[in-house]
């Protein structure tokens, strides 16, 4: 298990390094030098030279890469061109809001997904099972921003039950919670479909397995059979899909935060792209990549913890 963990973490770090190199290369590919973009068309050559020196752009390429990595390793992601604040501070200020949105979206997906999946198992082969199947596929097919727009129209504009924009008043938990409902549902709903299908398939497969019969043949109580012998296996592919979902949910947040005008990573990155605020764009992408790798690696380790066959395959 330890060897496998080290391997997985090393792989995640390697991916991160590749992403950073890619981003570094992007700065060179983009036309125009970063200094004139940062300072604007009316900058004097002296100012430009000063900034180029301060940004380290006059140094050799390996030197620049080395500085970039060293700075990133210590959490220094550069300075926001507009607000002149460290990029990491800007990100950390809005990240909890996106994290909360993502977590609540994931709750929708997991609770509704596992619930509907189990209902489909209980009523397998009936009309309800087929209806849930059609519903799940529709939920997967419709993009989250479409759901966002329609739910906004129905629940906020026509019915007026829930707030249309913003994240709620600061300090007022009720208003913040109500502001969370629509955007999180819009993001989570497509994952409800995935998880429901997956839970249905893997539960059906496991409950028909020979070892479930063995457990029953030794008179184990049905709760032990389902929770210890069946769900533990059925949950493994679900964890993998939830981890992938975590990444996709964060990218959906970019659209959905814009639709609902919520502060968060999504609005931060769209705003930064519009204003050509490259340090913020790069910092945010790097930060999200690192976060996503963290989630996926954690899920891999959890799966290996739950299923000994996975760790043996990867060890062997």
């Amino acid at each position: 298990m330890l060897g496998y963990s080290i391997k997985r973490v090393a792989l995640a770090l390697l991916i991160l390094v590749v992403v950073m190199l890619g981003m570094f290369a992007m700065v060179y590919v983009i036309p125009g030098d970063p200094a004139s973009i940062a300072l604007g068309p009316r900058a004097t050559p002296e100012l430009k030279a000063l900034l180029i020196q301060r940004m380290g752009l006059d140094q050799s390429l390996p030197n620049q890469i080395w500085h970039f990595f060293r700075a990133a390793a210590t959490g220094d992601l550069g300075i926001d061109v507009w607000s002149k604040r460290p990029v990491l501070d800007v990100i950390l200020e809005v990240f909890p809001k996106t994290l909360l949105l993502g977590a609540v979206s994931l709750c929708w997906a997991v609770v509704l997904g596992i619930g509907l999946g189990c209902l489909a198992v209980i009523w397998r082969g009936t009309f309800i099972d087929r209806l849930l199947g059609v519903l799940s596929v529709s939920m997967i097919a419709v993009p989250s921003f479409v759901i966002a727009l329609y739910s906004l129209l129905i629940f906020a504009v026509w019915l007026g039950w829930l707030p249309a924009i913003g994240a709620g008043q600061s300090g007022d938990w009720g208003s913040q919670a109500r502001a969370l409902i629509l955007p999180s549902f819009a993001i989570g709903v497509s994952w409800v479909g995935y998880i429901a299908r997956l839970v249905r398939a893997s539960m059906l497969e496991v409950m028909g397995a020979n070892h479930i019969r063995t457990a029953r043949a030794f008179g184990l109580p049905e709760t032990v059979v389902v929770l210890k012998y069946a769900l533990r296996i059925a949950i493994v592919p679900t964890i993998a899909i939830i981890a992938i979902g975590a990444g996709s949910i964060l990218s959906s947040a970019v659209f959905v935060e814009t639709v609902f005008s919520r502060p968060g990573i999504g609005t931060l990155i769209t705003g930064a792209v519009e204003k050509r605020n490259y340090p913020v764009v790069m910092g945010t992408v790097l930060f999200m990549t690192a976060f996503y790798l963290f989630v996926v690696t954690a899920a891999d380790l959890l799966i290996a913890r739950l299923d000994p066959r996975v760790r043996d395959v990867l060890r062997g």
């Binding site: 063995t214 043949a217 184990l220 210890k228 533990r232 296996i233 000994p308």
Partner: protein, 321 residues
């Protein structure tokens, strides 16, 4: 005084899309304590359904039409599920068909064997110690290591030994082995049969071995029930079955046993045709379409059960006592 295990006129039907399948059609058998009985037949003859009924674990789409399975005089099929659950793993134990898939792949052998003894009332540590003792008895030297292993880390033969050990630990009144050696290669099969033979005396109850393999029956059993199309077509002590089979199906089955193929016989005989469709069983004898002796009566009237000797019966129009 009734027998330890008595199956009386048991009929079991499966609900299925293409029509209900009459998997068991009035099966009767009995077994005394200390006896080993064999149930033999080809695929689809209903022997696995019978095995499931014996451990009171029929599929959810199976319904018991008529008949009873009495263990120590109690009809186990009419008990509520909670009562049946108390019997399983205590009075009744099973050795599963396929050792590859019989254990949960994500739990250690020890964890599962400890769970399987949940009727014992012992602590988990005590159950584990008991499991280690039993594993040594079935020929696993490194019992402690084996308990820490996951199923995929053991060979098929090892897993089947663990399965036998788990069943023996229940000290059951009835031990049902459903195709205990089918999934194993020939050397493993021989080892497991040898082990089962040496353990016969350890078991106080009755053992029922379900198989399509006549060799296994000959090695292990006292008496044999031959099944065909959901019915017991012949019942006989094992020696009589081999040397004086009476039902035409049994005769054909023994002729087809590769183990009995003599020198100079180049071609293995087979039984032409196929078993009848059990969604619509024939009115007469189920074997009639494949039987060399069959006449009009065989096709139209159900065959009588003819008693050939004190311990041998055959379900056939053509057998005379």
């Amino acid at each position: 005084m009734s027998a330890l295990l008595e199956v009386a006129e048991l009929s079991v039907t499966y609900r299925a899309e293409g029509g209900d399948v009459n998997a068991l059609r009035g099966v009767s058998l009995m077994a005394e304590a200390g006896e080993v009985i064999g149930i033999v037949g080809e695929s689809g003859c209903g022997k696995s359904t019978l095995a499931a009924a014996l451990i009171a674990l029929l599929e959810t789409n199976a319904t018991v039409g008529t008949g009873e399975v009495r263990l120590n005089g109690r009809d186990i099929l009419s008990l509520p599920e909670a009562e049946r659950r108390k019997l399983r793993g205590h009075d009744i134990a099973m050795i599963s068909q396929d050792p590859m898939t019989a254990f949960s792949p994500v739990l250690t052998m020890g964890d599962q064997i400890v769970d399987f003894q949940q009727h014992s009332g012992l602590s988990r540590a005590a159950r584990r110690a008991r499991a280690a003792d039993m594993l040594r008895k079935v020929g696993i030297a490194d019992a402690e290591i084996c308990l820490r292993r996951y199923p995929h880390e053991l060979s098929g033969g090892m897993r089947q030994r663990v399965a036998v050990a788990a069943a023996l630990m229940a000290n059951p009144a009835l031990l049902v082995a459903d195709e205990p050696t089918t999934a194993l290669d020939v050397t493993m099969e021989a080892q497991i049969i040898h082990m089962l033979r040496s353990l016969r005396t350890e078991i106080n109850g009755a053992i029922v071995i379900v198989t399509h393999h006549l060799g296994v029956i000959g090695e292990l059993c006292d008496r044999v029930y031959v099944m065909y199309a959901g019915q017991v077509v012949e019942e006989a002590p094992v020696d009589d079955l081999y040397h004086a089979p009476r039902h035409p199906y049994t005769q054909a089955l023994i002729a087809c046993d590769p183990g009995a193929l003599g020198a100079g016989q180049g071609v293995l005989p087979t039984i032409p045709g196929r078993p009848p469709d059990l969604t619509a069983p024939p009115p007469g004898c189920g074997f009639a379409p494949r039987c060399p002796l069959a006449d009009g009566t065989c096709h139209s009237k159900p065959p009588p059960r003819v008693r050939v000797s004190a311990q041998q019966t055959a379900l056939c129009h053509k057998v005379v006592s």
